[in-house]
């Protein structure tokens, strides 16, 4: 039964990736470059949600501050670019490394706690970074800053070209999916899941969960930092809003909406939430102003309903996907 669930989820991921790979020629044919932009955004957030799913879904660590690493990743690109260093070979490793370091610092303190403390502490630290971003006037403060140029990979790829950038993000998404899959099914991942389902037993067989959880926290932060670097390139603009706590909430919602601790969940959730936002903002059935201005009202109601009534998320709707526990 377990084998079946895994294969069904994997199958969905493969189909989704194939569909995503087919989008650029289709968008060119339909003359709708807008979809390229939207779906690239979906994939970037899917990488971020994927990294959160590693600690939230498999590790049971309810981090309410995951947007911090989106911000660190974006600011790594932005700050280097501010000083005229546009090379992606410099920017992206820095984004990943800096996010990993910050995750190590935040994790070292917060992973020691659990439950509600963990939720509040991760939220508070992220808020601290948010205020730091606001108060540093040199890097734009409240207003944020524009990237003079997208990250440059001379001779390899030009991110200014929408299609090349799209396929690069797709490739990174596939690599991230494979990475998280490998981690979850390794010995390390087994320990992480064991500690989530029963910490006392895990300790009883001689394993302290702390180093495993901290390592997962750092890996998730690093991966999300990559998503942040991509996001800065996507918008060619970055603000402290990347680290706003509502962003952390949205990432959590993506994971839950898609299906927590499932392979396909983060991708499904990111797609569902961002497409839903897009639909709500441009819905032609309802009076436009009422929806376009206040779509968060409907989003809030949907969120409450999903949590109360559809706990297994979209992946739970897949054949064999409902047997999560």
């Amino acid at each position: 039964m377990i084998q079946r669930r895994i294969s069904s989820s994997t199958w969905v991921v493969v189909v989704l990736i194939a569909l995503l790979a087919a989008v650029p020629p289709l968008a060119a044919y339909l003359d709708a470059p807008f979809y390229l932009d939207l779906l690239r955004r979906v994939m970037i957030f899917a990488i971020a949600a994927l990294s959160l799913n590693l600690i939230l879904g498999y590790g049971g660590l309810v981090s309410f501050g995951h947007a911090a690493y989106l911000g660190i990743g974006a600011y790594s690109v932005g700050i280097l670019s501010f000083y005229g260093m546009h090379s992606g070979w410099l920017q992206w490793p820095l984004a990943i490394g800096a996010s990993a370091l910050v995750a190590l610092a935040i994790g070292a303190i917060s992973v020691r706690t659990s439950g509600i403390y963990f939720i509040m502490i991760t939220l508070a630290f992220t808020q601290m970074l948010y205020y730091l971003g606001i108060s540093i006037e040199e890097y734009g403060g409240d207003d944020g800053m524009r990237l003079a140029s997208r990250s440059q990979f001379p001779g390899l790829i030009d991110l200014g070209d929408a299609t090349s950038f799209y396929y690069l993000v797709l490739a990174l998404l596939v690599l991230s999916l494979l990475l998280v899959h490998r981690i979850v099914h390794s010995r390390f991942g087994r320990v992480l899941q064991a500690a989530r389902s029963n910490e006392a037993r895990t300790r009883a067989i001689g394993i302290s969960p702390y180093p495993y959880r901290l390592a997962a926290f750092v890996i998730a932060g690093a991966l999300c930092g990559l998503a942040g670097a991509l996001l800065a390139n996507q918008t060619a603009y970055l603000t402290p809003e990347f680290m706003n706590w509502t962003r952390s909430g949205e990432l959590m919602f993506m994971v839950i909406l898609g299906g927590i601790a499932t392979g396909a969940g983060p991708l499904l959730g990111a797609a569902a939430l961002l497409l839903l936002e897009d639909v709500l903002q441009g819905w032609s059935v309802l009076p436009k102003e009422a929806v376009r201005d206040h779509w968060q009202l409907y989003l809030g109601i949907i969120l409450v309903l999903v949590v109360i009534f559809a706990r297994r998320g979209l992946a739970g709707l897949l054949p064999g996907g409902g047997k999560n526990d």
Partner: protein
């Protein structure tokens, strides 16, 4: 001169502290008894501020607007509890966080629909305007003194209710073992609703007190809510005593840090560097304090007995 500035900022810190306490007390009670994370607590603060401002504009009487605003917030809190939150008590924290996050989006947009996205003007009644002469040259706004007084009075009242009354006994019993309280024939659902309603009213009180001095706008609740989280984490979750201590510490550290960190730094490093580092460090100060306290006492200063 310097003494006046320090005394004034200390009073400001105290005023922020009692405000944080009003919010933290409700949140920590709801957590301690229902084991429930309520992110929407800040939304109730916002509802209190809006309702009171609106009632004041409609009736022209502040003394009438205050009870109406409190009752309105209480009603909104109870409806929210009965409709949405009640089903979440038995769920894990993740579900509670997400559902109440949804409620925040809902309330912020609802307020934006009703009153618009821009900050609305909220005034204090004429008899609470002006300054009072305290010791020597020290003059302090009357309204802020009233906030401090109300906050301390509520703290005293809460202590009396929790420590000396039958309701308080049930609350304490519910916090330590809810199954046992239910088995002894207490209507635990009703108790939950009462506690949640009280928490909502306290949040509403904080909101209506804040309205004339902070800006009244959608999202105002979340700015202060995260500071309240810091208060609760420092004080220890579920403990009213901890909430009071944490609130005063956070209020003081934040206010004094913002006022004095920059001049203090400029005596050590160059003034231009202090100009940048001062505000940045001041806004991070309470979070660094929280981290330091947690490193030594992972469950806060006054951990509850559980």
């Amino acid at each position: 001169m310097d003494f006046i500035l320090i005394a004034e900022q200390t009073l400001n810190g105290l005023q922020l502290g009692v405000m944080l306490f009003l919010l933290a007390a409700g949140l920590t009670l709801v957590f301690g008894i229902m084991n429930m994370v309520n992110l929407a607590h800040g939304a109730l603060y916002m509802v209190g501020a809006y309702l009171t401002t609106w009632f004041y504009q409609q009736t022209g009487s502040f003394l009438l607007a205050v009870p109406l605003g409190l009752a309105g917030t209480l009603a909104v809190g109870i409806v929210t509890e009965v409709v949405a939150l009640r089903t979440l008590y038995e769920r894990d924290h993740l579900d509670q966080v997400l559902a109440t996050f949804g409620l925040i989006l809902f309330f912020n947009e609802l307020i934006a629909i009703l009153w618009g996205r821009a900050a609305i003007y909220s005034s204090m009644p004429p008899y609470l305007q002006g300054h009072v002469q305290l010791v020597g040259e020290l003059r302090y706004p009357l309204y802020r003194l009233v906030i401090i007084g109300v906050g301390l009075a509520v703290a005293l009242l809460l202590w009396w209710v929790v420590a000396r009354t039958r309701l308080g006994m049930l609350i304490r019993a519910g916090a330590s073992n809810r199954a046992m309280v239910a088995a002894l024939g207490i209507n635990i659902r009703l108790l939950y609703t009462i506690v949640f309603g009280c928490g909502a009213a306290l949040a509403g009180l904080a909101g209506l007190l804040a309205a004339p001095i902070f800006s009244v706008q959608p999202g105002m609740g979340e700015l202060i809510l995260i500071q309240v989280f810091v208060v609760i984490v420092i004080g220890g979750i579920g403990s009213i005593r901890g909430a009071l201590a944490g609130a005063l510490i956070v209020g003081m550290v934040d206010t004094l840090g913002r006022a004095f960190l920059k001049p203090m730094l400029s005596t050590v490093i160059s003034p231009s560097a202090a100009d940048t580092a001062g505000p940045a460090l001041a806004s991070m100060l309470i979070y660094l304090l929280m981290a330091a306290i947690l490193a030594f006492r992972p469950s806060g200063l006054f951990p509850s007995a559980r």
